[in-house]
Amino acid sequence: MAFDIGLAVLVLGVAIWTITARDTFAAVIGFVTFGLLLALVWVRLAAPDVALTEVAIGSGVTGGLLLGASIRLRRTETPAAREKPGATLRLAAAVLCTLVSAGLATTVLLLPEPAPTLAPQAAANIPATGLGNPVTAVLMAYRAIDTLLETVVLLLALIGMWSLAPDRVWGGFPGPRHHSDPEGVLTFVAQLLVPVGILVGIHIFWIGSVAPGGEFQGATILAAMWILAMMAGLVDAPPVSRRWLRLLLVAGPAVFFAIGLSGFAMAGAFLAYPAAYAKLLIVAIEVPVTLSIAATLALLVTGPPERARQR
């Protein structure tokens, strides 16, 4: 318990820093640390699947994205900070936020006893899927519709981002071109880390059926490795109008949806799996979904097209 109190205090301390720091870059560093500490909290809360997601996406990839943005936007910070609202508004905001927190805290303290849980239903669903990890079973079977919609949300975000491109680079290469320096440290790091990272990503994805892990965590690592290879200049980002790229991006949701529809014929409901093939079908969904999510996440970090396709 002493450990938990210390950890909770640290989490709050870093959060306060993230909000109050004068320098935005320092605040982003605070946020990355916040994610790291949250991952510890998730381990303490017996949620290792969430800890994996938090450290990969919540802290790692989001952190990298925000760090890059905060450095580029540094010059705009001082003028923008002058628009800070007056003391009255800040006080009112503080009162409002305290009230919100207090209200939420009351609900937490008044949570019903015994705690309601869907664990037995989720457990009852597991044998039908052939999966050993209850969280993956929930994501792929019990609440598969959420997961299907989530893959679509990711695609929508990417379409939104691409549509921010100026007309002259429409369909072009996303992000800047990074040049590799064969003698450089960065090339060395990338050549060493990328293969290791791809192995780790596949491992995390594959054990997801029986142990903590799964397609989102595995896909994030694969995405991070692709971005690393791009930043080191080992590979260039493909132009967003490439047909293979677009097929790769929609393959996951499309296969998911198709197998979901076939559930009507085979098991009588959308996204229902016939008992004999459940595990096979889930793997058939997971492989393209992982590849699609990895590509989508990587392109979301890379940004909208910036360079025209023909020069």
Binding site: D181, G184, V185, L186, F188, V189, L192, V196
Partner: protein, 97 residues
Amino acid sequence: MSLALDALTVLAVSAGAFFFLAGTVGLLRFPDALSRLHTLTKADNLGLGLIVFGLLFQVEGPFAALKLIAVWLLTLLAGATVAQLIAHTARPGGSPV
């Protein structure tokens, strides 16, 4: 036999935690930033190595042990490259990485 292994674990993990503590004291006491970070990197990497060594006696199976060692090696590698990259960017007139 396994009592001896547990004792080894306690010894190595204590030593590891001690290095983390010592590094932190160094963090607060050394005068300039560079020597501070330099010392701390070494202390932390050694501390993590000792903790990994101590945990090796507790895990089940060679795969779990291999993963522990992989974590340590990756941390060493990441730490070293970060120092290199930062030194590269901080150098005035240095080529952008």
